[in-house]
Symmetry: C2
Subunit: 316 residues, 2 copies
Amino acid sequence: LIAPAIARAADDPLPSWNDSRSRTAILDFVGRVTKEGGPDFVPLDDRIAVFDNDGTLWSEQPVYFQVFFALARVKQLYPEHPEWENLEPFKSAISGDLKSLAATGEKGVLKLVMASHAGMTTEEFAQIVVDWITTARHPRFNRLFTELVYQPMLEVLNLLRANGFKTYIVSGGGIEFMRPWTEKIYGIPPEQVIGSSIKTRFEMKDGKPVLQRLPEIDFIDDGLGKPVGIYKFIGRRPIFAAGNSDGDLQMLQWVTGGKGARFGMIVHHTDEKREWAYDKQSSVGKLDKALDAATGARWAVADMKWDWRKIYPFSS
Amino acid sequence: LIAPAIARAADDPLPSWNDSRSRTAILDFVGRVTKEGGPDFVPLDDRIAVFDNDGTLWSEQPVYFQVFFALARVKQLYPEHPEWENLEPFKSAISGDLKSLAATGEKGVLKLVMASHAGMTTEEFAQIVVDWITTARHPRFNRLFTELVYQPMLEVLNLLRANGFKTYIVSGGGIEFMRPWTEKIYGIPPEQVIGSSIKTRFEMKDGKPVLQRLPEIDFIDDGLGKPVGIYKFIGRRPIFAAGNSDGDLQMLQWVTGGKGARFGMIVHHTDEKREWAYDKQSSVGKLDKALDAATGARWAVADMKWDWRKIYPFSS
Ligand SMILES: [Ca+2]
Ligand SMILES: [Ca+2]
């Protein structure tokens, strides 16, 4: 029998984490901010933690999961839009040609989002999302997309909440694409989800008041937009932030740049066998400047391959 | 000895309310939605209540209190802006001439807001608000503005929260003008305050990350904007809404237009002796269409003069 390097309590809050520096740093931070009378104590009201979603709480390869949703939706709408047959980006979307789709650039993706995410009421859209997210499967794992969430990060969410933190998602993804399922999957209710949005308009439809989704950008919650979105929705500066790409750089800077104890964390995708390995050269979830900044800023870097015993809840 | 018409329990949750129809309606609604197994039961997560602020939770005469704040701020900044001496709306603002100021119209007020609310970091602005709100006094009552909150409405907020409701402010006023003090005064934390906003920009200032307030409108949370703002921030349709003017009409329609038990409420200013009396003809807090709609929609109308025993917490 070999004794484990560090004995783990039966109620270990982070069982899917190896005994890594990032694990120690998380536990140390939570211990310090919750220690009454200690120099780093933070009152309950200010215990706010923000998490990026794609690549931080769930996978994002080979494309953001919301792109799979948009593709499915466009296919569904195709019979009503015969003009899409030879029109990009719809042509590539319908044939499932991700490469040609990528070649249509940001403008192409925007057209796809507007065609698939607007033109219905908010309640209709929520139902469309639920129908997709409870049935669609990821091509590599043949699992529901919501099964591809990171077990170690679920444990961090639970640990923080057990210590009085309010946990938020702050994603570049669509706010209404996430809200219908985040409570069930992450324990994060809709009002604690911040994301990119399109505009809505109040209307009377068949005599009933509804909000109609318009094909017009309202807010892009990415990069410089993340601190802006956080302050708009929460009105306070959080003390904990986790992200995985350069789109999280300003959020990490702003959150960890406040007074008192602060925690910044980056999920580094290093495990091509169990998940994916990518950083500086990736078109999805590019992690370059934020990785360089991590050392100087003393952000914890969770190395997926070495720090995580388990990736997904279903993993052995 | 005369027995009271209806005996009140010692733990009466609405002691400042007379035995009115609106009081009965509120208690009845709370009883129905919290009765497990009952036909109108609403699960905890969906117990969301939204309250307009000006004229619903605190007074708004002779002008919105935020206008007093803007005037004080312009006076404070005047030494740095000698050009304001003969320039409207600043000239009227500095001399405190509310009539001339009103004559400058929406454009004038907008200029005043931008000059007084932008050009500093979010943290600096919060401090400016705190400095003012803890010292400035209302000209009629010579009380802090935060003393001019309605005791009966504080009781409604407490009653709802005691029954598992999450209470939100949804105001046409400035979101960052309210957030620094709503928790202390109403028990409503900053993240449960929705309001009008100006844009902010992430910047490094003296090497520190800050959000700079820009002189540019981001969102007007009034009228048609209220349901939009609610859904953007909360992602659900509340089941309880209270307002006092036509700016709350669409919010009331949308909230009470959902399925299941719903409650709409209008505060009607009818007491010129203890507070103010105004409705259809008022330039501040105009209540016309929403009052007409109340009957058909079966919204409770709280008549200040007859329904409220007490107006302010300091009233006898
Ligand atoms: Ca990400
Ligand atoms: Ca009002």
